[in-house]
C-alpha cells in the first residue's frame, strides 16, 4: 500500500506474490493433482479408460494399459481399490482377443511388483485384492446372463 498525492494506492508486491505462489505450489496435494489432471475422476477418467479397454482396436487397448502402467501403478495411491477393480475387470474382458502384447502389459501392471523369488504372496497384496473381486464380478455377470 502506498500513499501518492493523498491517494492510497494498492501496489502488487511481485516478490511477495511469487513467494506465496511458490509456497502454495509446494503444497500441491493429491486432491489438487486430481482436480487439474483427472477431473471427475471416478465418472469421467475411469469410464474413458474402460472405453479404451473395450475398444476394438488393439493399439487403443495397449495404449490404455501403457498409460495405466506409467501413471496408475496398482501399488500406488492414484486409484482407489474400487477403481482398480473396475479397470482390472475391463482388462480381463479384453483378454479373449489373445493379443499377447496386451497380455504382457496386463501382467506387468498387475504383478510386476511381486518378486520372482518370493515364495508366498500376502493376502492383502494389491494384485490379489483387485483380481479376486474383479473375477468374482465377472462370474456374477455371466451367471446372471445364463
Amino acid at each position: 500500500m502506498e500513499i501518492d498525492n493523498n491517494l492510497v494506492v494498492l501496489v502488487k508486491d511481485n516478490a511477495k506474490k511469487s513467494a506465496e505462489e511458490m509456497k502454495r505450489l509446494e503444497l500441491l496435494n493429491l486432491e489438487d493433482y486430481f482436480y487439474f489432471y483427472y477431473p471427475v475422476k471416478e465418472k469421467l477418467c475411469i469410464n474413458s479408460l474402460l472405453a479404451g479397454l473395450s475398444d476394438p482396436s488393439f493399439y487403443v487397448n495397449r495404449g490404455v494399459l501403457d498409460f495405466v502402467i506409467s501413471h496408475c501403478p496398482i501399488t500406488g495411491n492414484i486409484n482407489t481399490l474400487s477403481e482398480n477393480v473396475r479397470l482390472v475387470e475391463g482388462a480381463l474382458m479384453t483378454l479373449h482377443k489373445k493379443d499377447f502384447a496386451f497380455l504382457k502389459k496386463f501382467f506387468n501392471w498387475t504383478m510386476s511388483h511381486l518378486e520372482e523369488e518370493e515364495g508366498t504372496v500376502q493376502e492383502d497384496d494389491p494384485a490379489i485384492v483387485t483380481l479376486v473381486p474383479a473375477i468374482q464380478c465377472l462370474l456374477h455377470k455371466f451367471m446372471d446372463k445364463s
Binding site: 505450489l25 509446494e26 469421467l44
Partner: protein, 53 residues
C-alpha cells in the same frame, strides 16, 4: 495445444480430452497418447512442473 491449455485452464483442457476419449472412438488412440505424454506421472512431477510453469 499448450496455448489452448493456457487459455482455457488445465482442468477444462484435460477434462475435454478425457471426454473426447469417452465419446469418440476414432480419437481414442491420439487422446491416450497425449495424456500419457503430458500428464505428470505422480505428485512430485506435478509439483516440479507447477514450479516451472
Amino acid at each position: 495445444m499448450n496455448k489452448t491449455e493456457e487459455a482455457v485452464g488445465t482442468t477444462y483442457f484435460y477434462g475435454e480430452i478425457w471426454k473426447t476419449m469417452l465419446r469418440t472412438p476414432r480419437t481414442r488412440l491420439s487422446a491416450i497418447k497425449y495424456l500419457e505424454k503430458h500428464i505428470p506421472k505422480d505428485l512430485e512431477a506435478a509439483r516440479s512442473l507447477a514450479k516451472l510453469g
